[in-house]
C-alpha cells in the first residue's frame, strides 16, 4: 500500500515536470519552427513551380526547372565551380589556421595581443572590409599596381585572369576566417594533456613523432568539426564572390550560390532559384555525409 502510494506520487511529480517543460519549450520551438522549418518545406516545393513571389500564385510546372538545371551546362558549371572554389578556400583556411594555431601556442607576454589581432578581421562584416580590396586591386590605378610600378615591375591586370580573381577571393576569405579557426585549433592543442608530451620526451620520441602520435590523434575531433562546418560554409559561399569579383572576369568566378541569389532576389525567378537551392543543398549534405563517414572510419582504424 505504502509503496504503491509513493510510486503514484513520483509519477505525478514526473507528469507535472513534463507538463511544465512542455509549457516552456513548445511555444519557443513552435515559433522557431515557423521561421526555419517552414522555409525548408516551402523550399522543397518551390523548385517545382513557376513563381515570382510578389504577385500572382505559384504555378506547378513539374520537373521543368530541374530539367533546365541539368539540361544546360551553365548551372552544372556553376555547381562545379562552387565546389572547387569553395574547396580551395576551405583547404587554405584549414592549413593556414592550423599553422597559425601552432605559432600562437607559445608562451609569451605578447601572445594575447597577437591572438586578438588575428581575430579582428572577423569582427567586421565582409561588406565593410571588401571596399579596401576593390580599391587596392584596381588594375590601372589601384594601390597594388602603383606599388609594383614604383618598383619597376609590370602591373598585373588582376581582373583579366580567373587565377588572380580566385586568388584574391581566397585571400579575402582566409583573411576573414583564419582567426576563429586558429582559435578553435588552439583550444584543441591546449586541451591535449601536457603530461603525454612529457612522457614521450622521457621515452625519447622526436618532435615529429610527438606530433604524429600525440597531437594529431588528440585533434581528430576538432579537425572533424572544422572540416565539416567549413565544408557546409564554403558550399554556400557567395558574399565574398559578390563583393570581390562580381563573378568577373566574364563569369569565370561566378558560383552557383550567387546565381541562386540573383535568380531569386534580383530576377524574382523563384522556381529556378528553388530548384537550384534544392540541388545545391542536397549536394552539400551528401558531401558532408561522405566526409563524415571518411573521418569516422579513420577514427575506428586507430
Amino acid at each position: 500500500m505504502v509503496m504503491a502510494g509513493r510510486q503514484e506520487r513520483v509519477l505525478t511529480r514526473k507528469q507535472r515536470q513534463s507538463r511544465r517543460a512542455y509549457a516552456v519549450i513548445l511555444p519557443f520551438f513552435l515559433y522557431i519552427a515557423i521561421w526555419s522549418l517552414l522555409p525548408l518545406v516551402i523550399g522543397l516545393l518551390l523548385g517545382f513551380t513557376d513563381f515570382n513571389a510578389l504577385n500572382g500564385l505559384p504555378k506547378w510546372v513539374g520537373l521543368k526547372n530541374f530539367k533546365t538545371f541539368f539540361g544546360s551546362r551553365d548551372y552544372i558549371d556553376l555547381l562545379i565551380r562552387q565546389m572547387w572554389m569553395g574547396g580551395l578556400c576551405l583547404v587554405a583556411n584549414v592549413v593556414l589556421s592550423f599553422l597559425l594555431a601552432l605559432a600562437l601556442n607559445v608562451k609569451h607576454p605578447l601572445r594575447g595581443f597577437f591572438r586578438t589581432s588575428v581575430y579582428i578581421p572577423n569582427i567586421a562584416a565582409a561588406a565593410i572590409t571588401s571596399g579596401v580590396f576593390i580599391a587596392l586591386l584596381n588594375p590601372f590605378n589601384g594601390g597594388l599596381n602603383m606599388f609594383f610600378k614604383s618598383l619597376g615591375m609590370d602591373p598585373i591586370i588582376w581582373n583579366y585572369s580567373q587565377f588572380w580573381m580566385v586568388f584574391w577571393i581566397i585571400v579575402f576569405f582566409v583573411w576573414r576566417s583564419v582567426g576563429p579557426a586558429a582559435i578553435i585549433w588552439l583550444g584543441g592543442l591546449q586541451s591535449i594533456d601536457a603530461s603525454l608530451y612529457e612522457a614521450a620526451k622521457v621515452d625519447g620520441a622526436s618532435k615529429v613523432q610527438q606530433v604524429k602520435y600525440i597531437t594529431i590523434p588528440g585533434l581528430r575531433f576538432i579537425s572533424a568539426y572544422i572540416l565539416l562546418t567549413g565544408l557546409i560554409g564554403v558550399m554556400q559561399m557567395f558574399d565574398v564572390v559578390m563583393l570581390i569579383s562580381h563573378g568577373n572576369p566574364y563569369g569565370k568566378t561566378d558560383v552557383l550560390m550567387y546565381r541562386i541569389y540573383r535568380d531569386g532576389v534580383i530576377s524574382f525567378n523563384m522556381g529556378m532559384a528553388g530548384a537550384a537551392s534544392t540541388v545545391l543543398g542536397l549536394v552539400t549534405v551528401l558531401i558532408a555525409f561522405v566526409a563524415f563517414f571518411i573521418i569516422s572510419k579513420g577514427d575506428n582504424n586507430e
Binding site: S72, D74, S267
Partner: protein, 461 residues
C-alpha cells in the same frame, strides 16, 4: 513559473499585435488619404493639387535633392574649390521649383543609386504594390515600358520633346521620357595628335583611318601615351559604347526573343573592338570602374590618351581644363550607316500602380521646365525639349552640342535594345562574356560568340 511564461507570452503577443496593428493602421490611413486626393486630382487636375491643403506624399528618385544631398554637393564643390556643377544646379533648381509651385507636395527625394541597384529597388517596390511616384533609369526603362508597368504620358509632355527621348509601350503609346540624354561622339586631344606627327585638324572619318591614327599615337608614345579605342566595361557602360559601332555596321544584338551573336558583321565589329583595345593601357578599357579612363583622357597635365568615345557631356570637363581638344562624329566603317545610341539618359515614367498620377506627371513637367533645362546645355548634354534640339540659338558656339543635336534631330536614335525574357541576365552575358571577354582574352571571336549565343538562347526559350 507559470507567471513568468504568461508574462513572456503576453509580451510576445503584445509586441506582435502592436506591430501588426501599427502596420495595418498606417497602411489603411495612407491609402485612405491617397484615395481622397486621387479623386480630387482627377476632378480638377492641376488646380486641385495647388489649392488642396492636404499634403501629398511623393517618392521620387532622380528628381530633386534633399537638404542633406544639397549640402553635400555644396561641400564637395567647396572642398574642390569650384562652382556647383550644372547638374547640381539643375537638381537644386527642380527642388526649389517644386517647393514653390506645389507647396502641398511632401517630397521624398530618394537616392537609390543607379543602374542595377536602382532597377532592383524599383522593381521590387512595384511588384510589391508599393510603387514610387516616379521610376527613373536608363538601360532598363524600355523593359518597364514593354511589360506595361508605366502609365502613358499626357499629350502636353509628349508635344514638348523630341521623339528620340521617348520610350513607347507595346501599344505604341509614349510612356517614358528622358529629361536629358546624349549620344556618342569622338573626342580627341589635339596636342597628342600633333606630337605623334598627325594632323590635329583632320580627325578620322572611317574606322580604318581611326585605327591607323590611334596605332600611330600608341607606337610613338613609348608606353606612356596611348591612342585609345572602344571601351568595353563589363557592365552596361560597355554595351552602351559598343552599340553605336554595331549599329553602324547595320546590326544589333537582337532583341525581343532573338539574339544574333552569330552574325558575321557583328563578329567583324567585335574584331574591330578587340584591335582597338590594343591602344589602351592594359586593364583600362575594360575596368569596372570607368573613372580612370576618363581622367586619363581629360586631365590637363596627365592626359595620356588621344581618343575617347563618350557622350557629349565630356565637353564640360575639357572646357574647364582649358585643354586643346576637338570633337567629331563617330568614324564609320566602310559601307556603314550612321548609327548611334542614347547615352547618359535619365528616363522617367510614372508606374501604373502609383498613387496621385497627375501629381507625378507634374514632377515631370517641372523636370522639363525650359529655364531649368538650360543647365544641361551648359553641361554639354542635349535637352529633351524640341526648342533646344531644333535650334542652336542657345548654344551658337558649342560645336559639341551642335553635333549631338544634329544626330538627335531625326528622332530615330534608340537606347539599348531589350529582351523580353531575363533581360538583365542576357545583358550580363553580353557585357561580360562577349564584350569584356573579347578584349580581355585572345579566344577566337566565333568561339566566344557561339558559347554566349547558346547560353542566351537558353535564357530566351
Amino acid at each position: 513559473m507559470k507567471k513568468l511564461i504568461a508574462m513572456l507570452l503576453a509580451c510576445t503577443m503584445i509586441f506582435t499585435m502592436t506591430a501588426c496593428g501599427a502596420q495595418k493602421e498606417n497602411d489603411t490611413t495612407e491609402t485612405n488619404k491617397e484615395n481622397e486626393t486621387t479623386t480630387e486630382a482627377t476632378v480638377e487636375p492641376t488646380k486641385a493639387a495647388e489649392t488642396s491643403t492636404e499634403k501629398i506624399h511623393l517618392v521620387a528618385p532622380k528628381v530633386g535633392l534633399n537638404e542633406e544631398q544639397i549640402q553635400l554637393e555644396k561641400d564637395n564643390a567647396a572642398a574642390e574649390n569650384r562652382e556647383l556643377s550644372p547638374s547640381a544646379n539643375f537638381y537644386i533648381g527642380v527642388t526649389e521649383k517644386i517647393a514653390e509651385q506645389y507647396p502641398n507636395y511632401e517630397m521624398e527625394y530618394v537616392d537609390w543609386g543607379w543602374a542595377e541597384t536602382l532597377d532592383q529597388k524599383q522593381r521590387s517596390l512595384i511588384l510589391s504594390g508599393n510603387a514610387p511616384s516616379i521610376v527613373a533609369g536608363e538601360t532598363f526603362m524600355p523593359v518597364y515600358a514593354s511589360s506595361g508597368m508605366l502609365e502613358p504620358l499626357p499629350q502636353d509632355i509628349v508635344d514638348m520633346v523630341n521623339p528620340s527621348f521617348l520610350i513607347y509601350d507595346p501599344q505604341g503609346r509614349p510612356v517614358s521620357v528622358a529629361y536629358k540624354s546624349s549620344v556618342f561622339l569622338l573626342f580627341y586631344n589635339k596636342t597628342l595628335l600633333k606630337n605623334a606627327g598627325l594632323d590635329p585638324e583632320n580627325p578620322p572619318k572611317t574606322w580604318d583611318e581611326w585605327k591607323t591614327m590611334s596605332d600611330a599615337v600608341t607606337a610613338s608614345g613609348n608606353g606612356e601615351i596611348f591612342g585609345g579605342g572602344v571601351p568595353s566595361f563589363p557592365h552596361a557602360g560597355g554595351s552602351l559604347r559598343a552599340t553605336p559601332f554595331f549599329r553602324q555596321m547595320g546590326v544589333d544584338f537582337g532583341g525581343g526573343l532573338t539574339i544574333n551573336l552569330t552574325d558575321p558583321k557583328l563578329q567583324q565589329t567585335l574584331q574591330f573592338i578587340r584591335d582597338m583595345n590594343a591602344n589602351f593601357p592594359a586593364g583600362l578599357g575594360n575596368n569596372s570602374d570607368e573613372g580612370p579612363l576618363w581622367s586619363q583622357f581629360q586631365d590637363k597635365d596627365k592626359g595620356t590618351i588621344a581618343f575617347a568615345v563618350n557622350g557629349s557631356w565630356q565637353k564640360g570637363a575639357l572646357v574647364n581644363n582649358g585643354f586643346d581638344w576637338g570633337v567629331t562624329a563617330l568614324p564609320l566603317p566602310e559601307g556603314g550607316v550612321v548609327g548611334n545610341c542614347m547615352v547618359g539618359a535619365v528616363y522617367v515614367g510614372v508606374p501604373t500602380t502609383a498613387e496621385n498620377k497627375e501629381d507625378c506627371f507634374n514632377l515631370i513637367r517641372v523636370l522639363l521646365d525650359q529655364d531649368l533645362q538650360k543647365f544641361w546645355l551648359k553641361e554639354g548634354t542635349p535637352s529633351a525639349l524640341n526648342m533646344y534640339i531644333d535650334s542652336s540659338a542657345e548654344y551658337p558656339d558649342d560645336v559639341t552640342l551642335q553635333a549631338a543635336a544634329e544626330a538627335l534631330k531625326g528622332g530615330a536614335v534608340k537606347g539599348l535594345t531589350t529582351f523580353d525574357k531575363n533581360d538583365a541576365q542576357v545583358w550580363e552575358i553580353i557585357n561580360t562574356k562577349v564584350l569584356a571577354r573579347t578584349t580581355m582574352t585572345n579566344d577566337p571571336i566565333d568561339q566566344i560568340c557561339n558559347e554566349a549565343q547558346a547560353e542566351i538562347e537558353n535564357l530566351l526559350k
